[in-house]
Amino acid sequence: MSATILKVAALAILNVALVLLLSPLYEGLLRKLKATLHSRMGPPVFQPFLDTLKLLGKEDLLTVQHPAYAVAPAAALASVLLLATIIPIGGAPPLAFAGDVIGVVYVASMSAVLLILTAFASGSPYAAVGGSREMMSLLSVEPVVAVTLVVGAMKAGTLSVAGIADWNAAHGPTISMTLAGVALFLAVQAQAGKLPFDIPEADQEVMGGPLVEQSGPRLALFRWTMWARQLVFSLLLVELFFPWPRTGVLAADAPLALLKALVVLVLVAVVDVVNPRLKVEQAMGYYLRVALSSLAAMAFAVVGM
Amino acid sequence: MLTVILCLVLLLPVAGAVMAGHARAEESRGIAVRAALAAALLAIWAAWSAFPLGYDVRLGGLPWLGREAGAGLFGLLLDPLATILLLVVTIIGFLTVLYSHGYLTEHNQEHHGTPEDQGRYYFWLLAFMASMVGVATAPNFLQLFLFWELTAVCSWSLISFYRSATSLRVGFKAILMTHAGGLFFIAALLVMFAQTGSFDFDAPSRMNENLRGWVYGFLLVAAWAKAAQVPLHTWLPDAMEAPTPISAYLHAAAMVKAGVFLMARAVSSGWAVPHGVGLLMAVMAFVTMLVALSFYFLQDDLKRLLAYSTIAHLGYVLLGVAIGAMGSPVGLQGGVLHIICHAFGKATLFLCVGAVAWITGSRSISRLRGVARVMPITAAAYFIGVVTVTGIPPFAGFWSKFMILAGAIRLPSPMGPVIVTLVLVESLVAFGWMLRVGQVVFLGPWTPTGVERQPILLPRSMKAALWVLMLGCLIAPVIGIPLVHRIAP
């Protein structure tokens, strides 16, 4: 019994640690890539770590004094790390018994909710605009995420995340799962807050939107949350919809998964570089179309393809 | 013992009428209230002691009519059906007299003056009460007819009480139309007597099919006239010229009930009404309900609105009686129960309107606004009256309407569901309209009409009458249901 608990705890710590430590590194790699595409030098790969360290030591400026407001950044980061414990990274999800794909959808939105509430609480009108946009982005993207996961659940006949991944690994590529994977990939673009969907932050318009009043350690944690979120979502994508090849050995599967996630994020970064920002309406229309097309994946799933 | 009590119930109002008629204005009020109270209490006592077996006593006869028919022709009958009407007549009669005590004063903003005429008013009112007691306790059609015509005379006098040109004209109209119905009653009596040599309530059922149909048909026409049913309904809205307590008592609670009482009596004694007559009664009841309903939307005078509502609800009673006649006794029980339930509800409504007019001098729906602010109890009574007559539980109308509908659904299809559907639709529309009118008149910000008596204060007697009636709206079915259970073939 205690051995099981220890194993779960160890796996959970592993997942959390991987996401926590690798996400700034991935962000650094992506920045480097973007700079290369821009024909710039770009910052060092470890710049995100350095930025974070510096921010953590800076003065904390608060426009509102409320305990809930104070802990919001830590809570946001924790929610993304929690998400990391209910998705697989190489092995089975550590807390598989605690949450299934519905849990994933809802836990995934928690960080966004906290960000939005913090934005409104900060009292800045720019933050409010950003919060409103973040909410609309959530409204557009979350259905896409839900549809893709439901397709997986329909194919595998279970809502368990591990169950879907196992089914996909065992049965090889199918049309419906591939379509769903593509749709989820398109959603990752917005979940990661990258162009053309960085509408909520939109530094040039609303000065970072929800983050305009965040500074010092608070800003660092919110940034970290975003980085972790993009990593977790790409991990979810590759583990559920592109789990092949699978060896069954954690030491081999985990690095592979992380590598595949990096590929996904590289693609995301490339899209980011070559696109201008969309307007809210355009983004919503785009994701509406994506969601409707991903219903095609569901149709395929129903007929068993 | 019971004979004495019942005779007293009949004679006390007569005595009161004579005394009040000769007394001075202030004294006549007190005499009338006491006489009516005594009659009501005795009636309750009589009802209590006669229940559940009923009571029947013969007091005298007309020997020249022949040995069989003449002996013991006149008497007193107190079966459950009679008890219902007796209670309605005496209790609401007393409340009306009590209400009039406050209403007929110089403070009345609707009709100024006339307090010196009170002797005449109470004379006719108590005489009417006595005649209604006679109608209720009549043991056969002949005695019923005699008191029936007496009520018409009292009604005529009371409608024309204010002696204005209009009130004289509408009083004349009322007596013409109800008396035209009375002629059919006489015709029915003659045919009945010629055929069976008897005026007993079950005499028509002993006749052959063909004549029986005619007798019941004549009685039905008489009932239509008395109960203001289409096509003889037009006198009732005009009769609203009468003082409001009179409208409440005669033209909502008691006199018009005599018509439906006659049919309930005719049907429940023998249960031998031909199907055709039953069907005619049901169809005309529906026509009446719908015609009356359609006039709701055109009324600006609150009392005329209530008059049309009364017409519709008498239609309900007749519908229940007709359903009973067509073979579903629950319907008749419901109809009879509706007599008492509707009496309380509609009397409440009329007395509310009377109170409003007494204070504000107006009965116009388009002029009165926000009356509840100054007359909260009256407003509460109005809404209770509305839910009582439209049948929202736990108020009285629900129980009777439900029983009528239950009777209807037992009829062979497709008649049952059709009747139920139509009744429910009528009920909903009527309810919506009455509620809307109530909201317009009573709720909202208070807008004075300019002629209010200041300070705005109802006399205690009027308030007391309203309170008792509100209570009656709640407990009428408790009294009525055990009684109507005993009316069954």
Binding site: L56, L62, L95, D100, V113, L159, A301 | M177, I392
Partner: protein, 679 residues
Amino acid sequence: MITFRLLEAAAAFLIAGALGALITARRGRRGAWVSVVAVSGAAILMVASAVRAFRGGGDPEVSALPIRALGAALRIHVDPLSAVFLCLAGPIALLTTLYSVEYMGRFVRDGLTKYYPVLLILFLAIGGTVVTTDLFWFLVFWELMTLTSFVLVIFERESREAHRAGLKYFVWNQGAALGLMGAALVLWRRAGSFDFEAIRVSLATLLDTAPVTGHAVLFLFFFGFATKAGILPMGTWLPDAYTAAPTSVTAAFGGTMTKLGIYGLLRVFLHLLPLGPATTIWGIVIAVAGLTSLFAGTLSALKQDDAKRLMSYHVIGQVGYMFFGVGAGIALMQTDPLLGTLGLVAGLFHLINNSLYKPCLFLGAGAVEYRTGSRSLSALGGGLGGVMAGTMACSLVASLAIAGVPPLNGFTSKWLLYATGILGAESSFLLPVAALVAMFISIVTLASFVKYVAGAFLGAPVVTPAGAPPIRDVPATMLAPQYVLAGACLVVGLAPFAVLRLVHQAIVGLPSMIGAPDFASLLGGSNTTLALARDGITLASWAPVPLTAVLLILGIAAYVGLQRAGGVVTRRVPVWACGEEENPAELRYRADSLYRPFKDVFHGMYPRMPVVRFEFPDFLRRTLDLDHWLYQPLARGTQGAVRGVSRTHVGIPQVYLLWIIIGAVAVILTVLLVTGGAP
């Protein structure tokens, strides 16, 4: 018998309380406290009888007050389903009454004579509706509920909106209730009694022998209950009535009264209706109705500016979730008892959750109104969080709960609903699509409650105008109910097991639930994890406590280990307006601007029923006016004829003689003509 006595005592408490409140209504708060005492007594007794029912399946049926002619009697029996509703109705009644004590002080111009007595009778009617097993008395209580709630809706009698809302409310619900009455009568015709058992037999035979009538009856039931519950399009009364009523009453409506629509559905479709083809059809109808309502209702909520109106539309949306769960459960029950039961449990559990967070939200909105006098989110402009911390905390918890943020209670029931929908894919392709719609709507719910919380509480602190007293949090009697409800949201969210067991007991206790799986094989026997399994394979799982524990550990670690690791100084600063010197009030981002592009997409989602302007046709009036074309001409004709006759009387003897001679000749001629000259 003990149950009957307990309920009798509860009713006695309520009636006595109503009379007491009526008498003491004019003496300040005394009437309020009398009511609180009465309601708490009744609530304890109601819960006690419910506990008895859960423990031992309840006492046998007791009947009173028979009406022989109708075969009706007040039959009282508390089964677990009734018990669930008693457990909700009692405590919520108590909380809202307690809240009223201070809250109703706002209405100085309107006497409380028509508040507490009516409120207590409303609670009596609610209790009566759920414990009777006689359709007639069910209708009596049902209509009593409509009547009393109508009085409460028009409480602010001088407001025109309240009238309109009240009229609309009463007419819609009365129409629906009359439909129920019709349905009951049709069934009674065959059964001869209103007892549920007799009606059950009657309904089964009716569906066999006359399917059209049978389905018409079921439609009337569905219509009646859906109208009460606020399902579209019949629920058009709901936003108006909820907004017009005093907020304490709105909370009671949202927590108990409209939920009885679901009670009615379960009673009729799983108690009175045996499983069969008809259940499947009507299950689908209920589910589709629920789906439309949750979609249109919630989307309409998003564009509301009035806080109470916003929540009222969510009542429609939330009840849509329940209808969806219950409908899907009823429809699946025959083909897939596992998912069928799951859907029913989900629907009923969502109802319980909704009865916890929805009153809490209404009470919060009422508290804001109590202190600021406004419900408009744009006008409020936020910032109350600093001064009304308790109210904000409760409203925030309830908002997150209704949006389904884990680990609060709303998530658990939504999780069950989605699991039913997604796993039901094998039965119908549409079920997962419906689940997706519900998931999307869940985010819309989140968006609109973010709007509410942001519009009322978040942002720069409010500046009270000079001279006005500073805004404080509401008094303890108004705050306590909110704390209780918000706490319940959290507790039920973290430990849903006990409640789910009771819900499951209530559902499987219904006569039609034959072959329903027991709780262990439905959601696992564990007290930490809810796991839905079929053939040993876990299909779905949710463990609130471990997940919350991990979240807390991670959160504390992130706070201590990262956010505060540097030990930095915190400093309070004003909002930075990018260097511009502006009036803070002008810098607000108004609530009505939120999500504008999104709202534009779904503009006009909620159907508004136009009020039909009825013009009485003139020709009909003239046709129906018998005086006009019959009696008046008749009277005039008679008068004319009589006048003609009177003109013959001239007073001259010769003329009379002439008349006599003419008359005699006429008579003789007539006789000759008739007899033909023969003697």
